[in-house]
């Protein structure tokens, strides 16, 4: 049994469900922050708490899904030469609208994100998805792609934010910035050692992302090594089988001869 398992070619990917794959790939495999290093500015600037990270993520979900849909809708109407300016207009429009909505309905979030709301316009992630995916695929796929990618982005921001917040204040709060009907601490260690101011500041942001990235790279490397080992084992086995076959053939022919 075990041998059979090894014998499966690990290089052959099993066929995945297309839509689900588009949705989930942004989470880990093509995570915009940890794998592609897109949108590092907001990843550093708005993640001093988990909630601001979540808020930024929500805005990006709205903008990215919206712009992907619109870009995909008009992809056949826009000539090649003016693609970029037209996309910029679309994205900037969405950002402006989302910014105004935030200011009206989530004012605390708007204040804490500050300049980084208009800066969503220049987030490479959004322009990148518009040119590389939405302008080539149909509307429903583009919507799913935008949503999934932004979800991955949100996940990364929340992870960074949670790490920084727990070190900076020893607790993770929810309901301070987002217009939620409650205000609670999800985690509260109440440990004085966790009051490391530095993690709320810029230096902590860089260091936390650096450490998380190293962690992700280490996990990736470990997986790749494992995969590589599996592949090597498979090749060995194939070689062995071939040798066996050869030997058998030789023996057969030898037997025939005798």
């Amino acid at each position: 049994m075990a041998e059979k398992k090894v014998a499966k070619n690990p290089m052959k990917k099993k066929k995945k469900n297309g839509r689900l794959d588009i949705l989930t790939k942004g989470f880990i495999r093509e995570n915009p922050i940890f794998i592609f290093l897109l949108g590092m500015c907001p990843a550093l600037a708005v993640t001093s708490t988990m909630e601001t990270g979540l808020g930024m993520g929500l805005l990006v979900i709205l903008v990215l899904t919206g712009s992907n849909v619109v870009v995909s809708l008009i992809r056949n109407l826009i000539p090649e030469q003016i693609q970029i300016p037209a996309f910029i207009v679309v994205i900037a429009t969405f950002v402006t609208i989302v910014g105004m909505l935030t200011e009206a309905y989530a004012f605390a979030l708007h204040q804490s994100l500050g300049i980084f709301i208009p800066l969503i316009v220049v987030n490479c992630l959004i322009m990148g998805r518009a040119t590389s995916f939405a302008s080539k695929n149909k509307v429903s796929d583009s919507a799913i792609d935008g949503f999934g990618m932004a979800l991955g982005f949100t996940f990364a921001l929340m992870l960074i934010g949670a790490t920084r917040e727990i070190f900076a204040s020893g607790a993770i709060a929810l309901g301070v910035y987002l217009p939620l009907p409650f205000e609670i601490s999800i985690i509260n260690t109440e440990m004085y050692l966790f009051n490391m101011d530095v993690f709320a500041g810029p230096a902590g942001g860089f260091i936390v992302i650096g450490v998380l990235l190293a962690l992700f790279t280490a996990i990736g490397n470990y997986r790749q090594k494992k995969k590589e080992a599996e592949r090597q084992a498979w090749i060995e086995q194939k070689k062995k089988e071939a040798a066996e076959r050869k030997r058998k053939k030789a023996m057969e022919s030898a037997g025939d001869a005798s």
Partner: protein
């Protein structure tokens, strides 16, 4: 050509649709955004008086060292809610902006640290104790400082203290106002050590003109009384600072008959501390003339063998630590003697230069005391603070000479 027009047209359409969408959302959200911005601007006010009507309040600029603004808050029915005092005071990282809310009963509603540059940990330490101000009545505010965030905390209680003075009023000022209606400010002149009164005040009106003088008498630990005279040394009565007990009140009332008689003509026979004060003051009033000068100067005749031979000036200035008072005697337009009568310099450094006497001699001997290099008379180890002590001494002599020359030694 047509292609280019087409491209331009498409861009135009995209732009127009985008513009329309933005304008649409803008009209939808405009009012709410404005509301939110207002709420943020007045966030601190609202957290003190949640019912405050933000469209109807009065703002008055206060001309003070610490307090900058007073907001009078009303609720939506137009009823008076209380005051919000805004003060600014220096702390470690920069200036702290502190808001103190006072309700109509004169109690503290809330103290808010609204702007600070101190580090988060220090601020946290301070915020924890701000709550204890809540509900306290002025006059009995408990200022117990926590260990740790000293400067931050100091900056806050300075503001609360200033508000307290404004609400409660300054007892000294009120006492003076009960004698002189126009009294607007006062300044401390001299400390007196061996006399029945401890401090001497100038009382001024709003223009800065001197209305009269007051002498503070500590009857006992609890009761303080001022002896007030006008600028012609006419007795204006004793007035209590704060409330005094019945015994002291009786002592004061015994002098009511003498009000509006010149001080030198009063000859009481009560045998209490108030009598001592009058007796101590009489010779001062008789022998000296008070003048108002940049550095406060007062002069009296210098008498030797019952003969007036010169003028003695008493000059007050600020030394390194606090007030320093010197007596400069000028005979025949020349410096004759210079004595430091009182000072607060530290015993190790500043006082050495005074006790040494070298600088006094040098100042008297010099043709022009302004040219004396004070630093030469300070020991190497004691340069910094002692130099300021020496410079204060120099200022005293120079001021006396200057005044003497201007007034012609009258």
């Amino acid at each position: 050509m047509f292609d280019k027009i087409k491209i331009a047209g498409i861009l135009l359409v995209v732009g127009m649709v985008a513009g329309l969408a933005i304008v649409g959302v803008h009209t939808l959200t405009e009012d709410r955004i404005e509301e939110n911005r207002l709420a943020m601007q007045y966030e601190d006010y609202v957290s003190i008086f949640p019912d405050m009507d933000l469209t109807n309040y009065e703002e008055k600029a206060l001309d003070q060292d610490v307090l900058t603004t007073r907001i009078t808050a009303y609720d939506s029915d137009g009823d008076f809610l209380g005051y919000i005092f805004i003060g600014e005071s220096a702390s470690y990282g920069g200036t702290n902006r502190v808001l103190v809310g006072v309700d109509s009963d004169g109690r503290i509603v809330k103290v808010i640290l609204s702007q600070t540059q101190d580090t988060a940990n220090i601020v946290q330490n301070v915020i924890d104790i701000l709550d204890k101000f809540e509900g306290q009545a002025f006059g009995e505010v408990d200022y117990d400082a926590p260990s740790g965030a000293t400067q931050s905390y100091d900056s806050i209680w300075r503001v609360v203290d200033a508000v307290s003075l404004m609400i409660e009023g300054d007892p000294t000022q009120e006492a003076f106002e009960s004698v002189f209606e126009d009294a607007d400010s006062y300044d401390v002149l001299f400390d007196h050590e061996d006399l029945a009164f401890v401090e001497e005040f100038n009382i001024r009106d709003a223009d800065g003109t001197i209305l009269g003088y007051a002498y503070e008498i500590d009857v006992d630990d609890e009761n303080t009384v001022f002896l007030v005279v006008d600028q012609d040394d006419v007795f204006k009565g004793f007035v209590p600072k704060d409330a005094v007990d019945d015994e002291t009140q009786a002592m004061i009332e015994a002098y009511d008959d003498h009000i509006d008689t010149p001080l030198v003509d009063i000859d009481p026979d009560t045998g209490d501390i108030l009598e001592d004060a009058i007796n101590d003051l009489k010779p001062l009033v008789e022998t000296t003339t008070r003048v108002d000068y940049d550095i406060v100067v007062r002069y009296k005749d210098y008498i030797e063998d019952d003969e007036v031979v010169g003028v003695t000036y008493i000059v007050r200035t600020d030394g390194y630590n606090a007030r320093m008072i010197g007596e400069v005697t000028i005979v025949d337009d020349e410096l004759f003697s210079f004595v430091i009568r009182s000072h607060n310099e530290s015993a190790d450094w500043g006082a050495i230069i005074i006790d040494d006497g070298d600088l006094q001699e040098a100042l008297i001997d010099a043709d022009n005391p302004e040219d004396v290099d004070v630093k030469e008379y300070t020991t190497f180890d004691a340069t910094s603070g002692a130099t300021q002590t020496g410079e204060a001494m120099q200022r005293i002599v120079v001021a006396a000479l200057e005044y003497h020359n201007e007034e012609g030694g009258q």
